[in-house]
């Protein structure tokens, strides 16, 4: 059986052209960006698979390659067994893509017209398409915008219309690049619910979704890959991923502004730590993942050494965020 998605040592390098002409300089490869490096991934049919990673990790690049928009530099990528490089056409028949935070669409058409037009590129009979579109406009709560010009829609309404565009063609595999980016809580929830219902409604439907939101990944995905700097650093179910850090616990400190938080590195018993400054409050938030809680004493004394007061200390059960921090060495937000 074919995997819905399979990649073998998939690598993508962006060659960034230099403005300068000088030969001696143009040889250097420091200008090249390696967006993906030897990525090996297998997504089964029927999975709701998540890609989690910080900005610039290579998530969008991977999606573009799988959507046949971009060619790999080396390595292979297969969608439903078809090579993205050699057989893009059979792939295009069974996929669709939605990316968040974009403004695409023919602004001069109405929401319904815009969707209808795209449906025609997927060979859906006109009547059937209109029926589907109306149902989905209703389901996403933008039925009242059906005859509004696309250019007059709000960001969230546009995004919902975009999601409809992706799902209305009934793809076997859908690629969602941060589908809830910039949406309010309700809209995000509507879309998340739709995605998880959709994938379970009929067997054989596959979703590959990228996100920044840990909650979203945790709640939605059957399996997750954590990607950083173009490489997959972990791939498992959210539960198993959390298990890997469960012997550790996570401690959150809120202290006065720390001039030099990096000094807290290298305390024994700490698996990883991150910090965030809150300039407005003049505070620093520190998150430690500790294997051994006796490290607390050391942490406290190091903070106090810097002349800062500790305002609060909280212990949490491990979350995906902790998994991420322990693997990548930095937070997501």
């Amino acid at each position: 059986m074919n995997y819905a998605v399979e990649t073998k040592d998939l690598t993508r390098i962006f060659r960034v052209k230099k403005r300068r002409r000088r030969r001696s300089e143009s040889k250097g490869s420091e200008q090249d960006v390696t967006a993906l490096k030897d990525v090996n991934l297998r997504i089964e049919e029927g999975e709701l698979f998540g890609l989690l990673g910080p900005n610039g990790a290579g998530k969008t690049t991977l999606i573009k390659i799988l959507c046949t928009l971009l060619l790999p530099t080396s390595g292979k990528a297969y969608v439903a067994g078809n090579d993205v490089e050699k057989d893009p056409y059979p792939i295009r028949r069974i996929i669709n893509m939605v990316s968040g935070g974009e403004t695409s669409g023919y602004g001069l058409l109405t929401t319904r017209e815009n969707l209808w037009m795209f449906s025609q590129f997927y060979g859906i009979p006109s009547k059937e398409a209109k029926k589907r579109i109306d149902e989905m406009l209703e389901a996403f709560g933008i039925w009242d915008k059906r005859n509004a010009k696309v250019r007059t829609l709000s960001t969230g309404e546009r995004q919902k219309a975009n999601v409809i565009r992706g799902f209305m063609t009934d793809p076997s595999i859908i690629f969602l690049d941060e589908p809830t980016l910039g949406l309010d809580v309700n809209a995000s929830r509507t879309i998340r619910k739709f995605i998880s219902d959709w994938v379970r409604e009929t067997s054989g439907r596959t979703v590959l979704l990228t996100t920044h939101y840990m909650m979203e990944a945790d709640e939605l995905c059957d399996r997750l890959a954590i990607i950083d700097e173009g490489g997959i650093v972990a791939c498992d179910t959210p539960r198993n991923l959390k298990k890997t850090v469960s012997k550790a616990s996570s401690l959150m400190f809120e202290a006065d502004y720390l001039r030099d938080p990096d000094k807290l590195k290298g305390i024994e018993g700490i698996q990883n730590f991150t910090y965030k400054h809150n300039g407005q409050m003049n505070r620093t938030l520190l998150t430690f993942i500790v294997e051994d809680e006796s490290a607390v004493a050391d942490i406290v004394s190091r903070i106090v050494e810097q002349g800062a007061k500790i305002h609060s200390l909280e212990k949490r059960e491990p979350t995906l965020e902790d998994v991420f921090v322990s693997l990548v060495g930095k937070g997501l937000a």
């Binding site: 928009l69 971009l70 060619l71 295009r92 058409l109 017209e113 795209f118 025609q120 590129f121 997927y122």
Partner: protein, 283 residues
């Protein structure tokens, strides 16, 4: 096939929505028709001045006039096709969505270009009517060769669209809109295809180039269809039988068709490699 038809109609409908998106149909007519018509007429009047007052009824003048009138199609179609790629990518940001849909891109382009051809047709007809009724070019509906006109107009349009497809492939690769490409090609055709002067006036290499481009045969066929009895001599194609003229047009058009597919595929591949399909220059 049915799916391609759906693409064609969907794209055609979209193209028409865009063209007719003018709130005022009068302004729309002015912009889409009067502009190319006046551009063609300005050129014609310039020639009258330069040539020191040729009789507008003369064969030479008819040659220039008809060449310019039909050349409206070349400019409009080539511009139209490259513009479609540009505005889909930059303005609407839909090019990537269309690109990943399971369509034949050719049908999409043909569909989008359809309304442009229709509007260009109105412009050409208006120009011709002006020439016939105001300037007295002796075109006669009863002596005209309608069969030749319809046949060659169809082949000519197909040929222009396929040249447009090649330009679309090139436009794929250029992130910025390069109005230069279509204008450059159109300019090339204007010089080498016997629009205002017979290609026999060109140096030998230029003549060879002219004979290789279907537009040359197409314009000659258009003139012959409209004025069967009044043909300029020494055009290099004078006296050729209609059958052979059509055959030459068809063969060169076919050659350009295959060439354009090749160029499109190459452009498509290079654009996909460079990641230019969804690139916006964000201006």
């Amino acid at each position: 096939m049915k799916e391609n038809l759906r693409t064609l109609l969907g794209a055609g409908w979209l193209g028409w929505q865009m063209e007719a998106n003018w709130t005022d149909p009068f302004l729309f007519m002015i912009y889409s028709v009067a502009k190319p018509v006046s551009a063609a007429l300005i050129l014609v009047f310039m020639y009258i001045v330069i040539l020191g007052g040729v009789a507008t009824e003369s064969t030479a003048f008819a040659y220039i006039f008809l060449g310019n009138a039909f050349f409206i199609y070349v400019g409009q179609v080539l511009f139209g096709v490259t513009w479609v790629i540009h505005e889909d990518r930059e303005h609407f940001q839909t090019l990537k969505l269309i690109y990943i849909s399971p369509i034949s891109f050719y049908y999409y382009i043909i569909g989008r270009a359809g309304s442009k051809i229709l509007i260009a047709t109105v412009a050409v007809v208006v120009t011709l009517l002006f020439g016939i009724f105001i300037l007295g070019i002796p075109v006669d509906a009863f002596t005209m060769d309608w069969a030749l006109l319809v046949l060659c107009l169809t082949v000519g349009m197909a040929c222009l669209v396929s040249i447009g497809i090649a330009l679309a492939g090139i436009t794929f690769m250029t992130a910025k809109h390069s109005g230069g490409i279509n204008e450059g090609i159109a300019g090339l055709f204007y010089v080498f295809c016997g629009v205002v002067f017979p290609i026999t006036q060109l140096p030998a290499w230029g003549q060879s180039l002219g004979y290789a481009i279907p537009v040359t045969y197409w314009l000659e066929a258009m003139r012959k269809a409209l004025l069967p009895a009044q043909q300029l001599e020494g055009t290099g194609l004078h006296g050729i039988e209609n059958f052979w003229l059509v055959a030459l047009l068809a063969v060169s058009a076919l050659f350009f068709y295959f060439l354009s597919i090749l160029i499109f595929r190459l452009g498509d591949y290079l654009a996909r490699r460079a990641g230019k399909i969804d690139m916006t220059t964000a201006y």
